[in-house]
Amino acid sequence: MNEPRSFSLRARLLFWAFVAALATPTALMLAGQGGFSPETENRPPAPLPTLNGQPLREFPRAFEAFFNDAFGLRAAMIKINAKIHSRLLRGTITPDVVAGREGWLFYKGEHIRGTPQSNLQIFLGTYPLDSDFLEKARRVQSRLRHYFEARGIRYYLVLVPSKISVYPEYMRGGKPPAEMSAIDVVARHLQDHGEPHVVNLRPGLLRCKEQAQIYHKTDTHWSDEGMLCGCRLLAERIGLETRWETVARQAGLHHGDLAKMEGKSAADGSEPTTEVRRVPETARLIPEDSLGGRLAQSIWLKDATWKIFETPDSSAPRLLCLGDSFFMRGNFTRLFAEAFSYSVFLWNDHLAPEYLDWIQPDVVIWEVTERRLRILADPLNPGIPFDPE
């Protein structure tokens, strides 16, 4: 076999420059200059695997996961790609995010193999709502209502619309909000079949939308204005005394979760927003590391993500609220807690019955976002033990 001959210095230089360019990300990684950003990816980086403790056949996949998170120039390359896509091509780098009109971003919904993503189904009016699902959901709600009624607790199922069913006009191929979205179909079915405790926030939010921007452009969730609207709608429906008549507004910046998914840092991906606080603000957050917080964590709440608030008004009702990110992220809990003497918010769909003994709630709320409506048919949600029918 002949060794390569040097026909020209230029060819030799170009060839080795190509090899060096390809090797640069690995070299930087070895030099400790990796490029993972937990802020934008919302997860910890994959660890460097070892050959001990796992089957050899799993090593390549584990190492590749580590390498994919650790190679050098990663963050810079992702940022450049995000800029090219958002500024030049008006697209996104994450397949789960759709770039709509005027800078609006939409989350398509969680991946379930073989089915279109849920928010997309909501937009298209194809969210699967057959009679079997609706009947199962009604049965679950009926059982829950009876369970709480027997204990003298007021129970409400609160349905929060997806951004895509409130602002579909900003979606690619946009159109005005549908008269009946998936959330309306479910709410109406439950209400028409003897379950009056269902609170559908969509009609009220569509009215509020005329007054203010109630969802963030670059986030899955509602803005503070949307949260305030949600609090007022709930107060009216549940019959709370607090109505958030006086609020203070101040301009701020919001670094949306979808902007983060698109690789945008707070500096270049934040959108202007209006921060809203009730005046006077009386709810006090019990810190997780306080004695009460630690006790709650160790005895009752275990692995759940939670927030507990107290207000000086001991005559106000006590609240236990289960829900998802719409209630748990941002300022919603702080705003809503103003209406209660003691309120516990759990980022969870599963309720342990012993919570009721501990919290002694007057009101229980289970909040479900529109794109997660499917869980309503799951008899294990929330985790109340039911007597068999």
Partner: protein
């Protein structure tokens, strides 16, 4: 491992190149063999043993054929060849077609046999055909028997063409495995081809593929005519740029390591007939079938009827080679049918037709064929074809092509339509020839190098972004 992954691009490839050129000549083949086994085992840790079994079996049978031929034992020669073919085809049947066979047996005979569910080893169709090529070439005395098992292992497992071709025939690389020349100009041509192939894959195939996947993910009952056209057009772009991109990368990598593989795609979408299409599409596969199936069946030597039958058999097998499903069988027969029709007279009529009409005919046949190739079932393919011509039921589901038509897709489709013709290369050649001075020629070459650098940079960025995996909520 795939070429368009970060681990290959940023770690495996540069490391292999550096080690290859750092080692003395006598160790280079061992290094390539070790790298190829790691490359294969990375994705298929257990399947590598199947490949090693194939290598050992074909090595022993090749040696036995050569020894028997030298000893004049014709019966042993024929028996060993039959055994070798049975071994290779048997492996393919067990690993690729057993579920298909059992499923159809169950349907046909009303049985309830359990499906074997054997995982398909990646690249088995390619390395099995290469192994068959080796023993048949030895039998036909068109290649010298390989006495060094490591060299045969390198031929069968060589990583550039291992998982997506081109199917390299033993007689074409026999001499190169034993001794090959490398020089920096050839290596640079390899680099250029690799970059072009990578760009084809990540900049066109992946973008078009994402749209095709999204639409094919929607139940066909909800498709509109626009969606059907968009899906089929996207898939037409995806399959060409994906496959030819991989081939270009493989040929380019081969050159980097001193091998010269034959061209596998020659602008098939500019063809004027289906016959021409198959002289331009996956050339290594069609020539493999020509040399190892069509010619032994008698080719065109036994009259027209036998020729038509031979062509249909070859294309039925070609379809089945692509996948164990009736959709692939129909795809193969679809092409076989048009080849036969062209031989029966349509071809002559086509030659007299206006050039755009011939082109439209080819694209219509090819795109309709891709519907069978991509659809999950034959009824789904039929429904897509009906939707394409406006005969599908309007679902009123709210889906529309607008949902998938992004500026990126439009840009990609426009670039893809130009890049799948020979026009860009011809323009570049013409500009070089017409350059009035050496200085201008140098400037043009510099511009081409800058263009390649831009393609590499953007492709690398796209590959890096494939490692970007954000979660909206880690806890859900």
């Amino acid at each position: 491992m795939v070429f368009s992954s970060t681990i290959f691009l940023f770690l495996f490839l540069p490391l292999t190149i550096v080690l290859y050129y750092a080692l003395p000549a006598k160790l280079k083949n061992f290094l390539l063999l070790a790298a190829s086994l790691v490359f294969y085992a990375w994705g298929e840790p257990l399947a590598v043993f199947l490949m090693l079994f194939s290598i050992a079996g074909n090595y022993l049978m090749g040696r036995l054929i050569a020894w028997s031929m030298a000893a004049g034992r014709a019966a042993i020669v024929r028996g060993t060849l039959v055994a070798a073919v049975a071994l290779n085809i048997g492996m393919l049947v067990v690993y690729k077609y057993s579920d298909f066979l059992v499923f159809n047996l169950n349907s046909l005979l009303d049985l309830n046999l359990p499906l074997p569910n054997i995982p398909l080893p990646i690249g088995i169709s390619f390395f099995t055909f290469q192994a068959l090529s080796y023993v048949i070439d030895v039998y036909r005395e068109e290649g010298t028997v390989q006495k060094n098992v490591f060299s045969l292992a390198l031929y069968i497992s060589l990583f550039p063409q291992l998982i997506a071709g081109p199917i390299v025939r033993y007689r074409d690389v026999d001499a190169q495995i034993r001794a090959r020349k490398t020089d920096y100009r050839q290596m640079l041509r390899g680099v250029a081809l690799f970059i072009v192939g990578l760009a084809k894959k990540v900049m066109v195939a992946n973008v078009a593929g994402e749209v095709a996947d999204q639409i094919f993910g929607v139940p066909v009952a909800n498709w509109t005519g626009g969606m059907a056209w968009l899906a089929v057009a996207s898939y037409t772009l995806q399959i060409y740029f994906d496959f030819s991109g991989y081939s270009d990368m493989a040929i380019g990598l081969g050159r980097i390591f001193g091998f010269e593989f034959l061209e596998n795609f020659r602008h098939p979408y500019v063809s004027q007939s289906i016959r021409e299409f198959w002289r331009r599409w996956h050339i290594s596969l069609s020539t493999w079938f020509r040399d190892y199936v069509y010619v032994p069946l008698g080719g065109s030597r036994n009259g027209s009827a036998r020729l038509y039958l031979n062509q249909l058999i070859v294309f039925l097998l070609c379809g089945l080679w692509h996948g164990a499903s009736w959709t692939f069988v129909v795809w193969g027969l679809w092409h076989g049918m048009f080849l036969v029709l062209e031989r029966m007279g349509i071809g002559a009529a086509l030659e007299r037709a206006w050039r755009p009409v011939r082109h439209l005919y080819v694209m219509a046949v090819v795109m309709a064929g891709w519907v069978f190739f991509r659809a999950a079932t034959l009824p789904e393919a039929w429904r897509i074809l009906r939707t394409l011509v406006g005969a599908g039921a309007e679902s009123g589901s709210g889906y529309s092509a607008h949902l998938y038509l992004t500026p990126l897709w439009l840009l990609t489709a426009a670039a893809g339509c130009v890049a799948c013709t020979p026009i860009p290369a011809a323009l570049a050649q013409r500009a070089l020839r017409a350059a009035p001075s050496a200085r201008i020629r140098f400037s043009l070459r510099l511009a081409a190098t800058a263009g390649l650098l831009a393609l590499l940079t953007y492709s690398a960025i796209s590959v890096a972004c494939s490692a970007y995996n954000p979660f909206i909520y880690f806890r859900f």
